[in-house]
Symmetry: C2
Subunit: 287 residues, 2 copies
């Protein structure tokens, strides 16, 4: 792991992930000043009071000025407009990364937008989930967490090295992956489960007004991620639309298989589908 350091870091979007990166950066001694930008001055003021950021700016351009490292940690839906807004104001050769759950075409788009000015490398630290906001931020949020880093053929190799070092210093296990493969995989293991959890909760709402009162631990676990930010998951879903539509079809097929077995009173067939799922699910526990 090479030792890296940044004179100034700009955190664009001071929520759970942005604030946690700031806290972790500070704890690691990796960087000097941290400037934050966000939509809510109130939130920025609290972040400053708590020592998460040193200063805040109400303009993203000002927050980015002279920054060696720029972290995009707004909702993914505004990444592109934010990139357009700050590009000309970035320090020549600045490192830019993000913490978005979407990579794929977003990575190519951001790379293109920053090209000729800053060096962008996409990141996706797998941390956070159903909590949000700076109150939940922790310096150790990324410790032992997986972080997918998605360089392209055009990526600057020293920029890639720095970004990998950054996440490793913050405690993450970095994995290099093609950006489109990232979206296919996380569409399946993360985005689809969110849609399923949201749909399952809405089903209970339709099935019976007071049914939710009888929800036990199984239902709580199964639908915990339905408490995640609607705004965030709206953006993620729309950006991974094609994968998700295909995955929803696959999920529909899996459900139909169960439905048919049930309709036909096919006990052996039902048990065999359940057993197949159980065996695959248990693999996660064994690793």
């Amino acid at each position: 792991m090479s030792r890296i350091s940044f004179g100034k870091t700009a955190v664009i979007g001071v929520g759970l992930l942005g604030a946690s990166v700031a806290l972790a950066l500070r704890e690691s001694g990796l960087c000097g000043m941290i400037h934050g930008y966000g939509r809510s001055e109130d939130n920025l003021r609290r972040a400053k009071e708590r020592g998460i950021i040193d200063e805040y700016r109400l303009s993203a351009r000002e927050a980015c000025a002279d920054a060696d490292l720029v972290l995009l940690s707004t909702p993914v839906g505004v990444f592109k407009s934010m990139a357009e807004e700050i590009k000309e104001y970035l320090k020549e050769g600045a490192l830019v990364t993000d913490v978005g759950s979407i990579k794929g075409k977003m990575v190519s788009a951001l790379e293109e937008l920053f090209s000729g000015r800053a060096r962008y490398i996409g990141s996706h630290p797998i941390a956070g989930s159903d909590t949000s906001g700076i109150d939940e931020a922790r310096a150790d949020l990324f410790r032992a967490a997986r972080c997918i880093v998605t360089p392209t053929e055009r990526s600057d190799s020293s920029a890639l090295e720095s970004i990998v070092s950054l996440w490793e210093t913050l405690g993450a296990r970095v994995e290099i992956m093609d950006a489109c493969r990232h979206d296919a995989i996380y569409g399946a293991v993360s985005h689809l489960p969110h849609l399923v959890a949201y749909a399952l909760v809405n089903t209970i709402g339709t099935a019976g007004e007071d049914y939710i009162e009888y929800a036990g631990q199984g239902f709580r676990d199964t639908t915990r991620i339905a408490m995640s930010s609607p705004e965030l998951w709206r953006d993620v879903s729309l950006h991974n639309r094609e994968n998700l539509l295909r995955l929803m079809d696959l999920f529909g097929d899996a459900l139909d298989t169960l439905r048919r077995r049930l309709e036909e009173n096919d006990a052996a067939g039902l048990e065999s589908e359940f057993s197949k799922a159980r065996a695959l699910r248990k693999k996660i526990e064994e690793r």
Copy 2:
């Protein structure tokens, strides 16, 4: 809470729930001897060695002889045949209850089968879920757990009182409910989520061979119940078939709504569905 006691208890099916009831009964001092019956002598021998049961019998009829309380804790699929097998061998007026996740028609059927001999009252303690077997059994499994008790118009009122007392002594919060309403509610908040979790895991298996390796905390939680016993959930699903088919249709509708919003790039519509689900799901946390 009236004080009750049983001379001898027969636990028919010594798995997680049967063994936990046995341990809790013993701890409460509610009963004298506990005899166990099950399919596996090896399991029964271990249950005896661990002091979960006093004796075991390889015939359900023998285990039930002279029992004041008989607990049906086999998979629900064999409740009826078991009732037929033991009925004539029960002590006159013995109390019989079960721990099955299915009530509805099952309760009427068992009531009918035992009528004229024993006094049956249906119970469903909401505990257990994805674990099984006597290794996971605990005397406090029912502490603060909900227990649905489903008397009918024909139920013996002192039998009902005893069964309620039994569960309350074991620490459960008893709720009296109509057996059919029980199946509609638990079909929605428990059985449907199991089918959904099984289907979701199978979808990941189809989507990509190594995708499961990238499953994070969200996926783990959402699919934890897919590790539940396939045999148990096969039986539960088949016994609650009509409710489940209807609920799977409702769930299909909820999924279709999301799919359409996604297809149409309807950001506001998607966010509104997510927000509705989130608000309902949060109600569980607030109670």
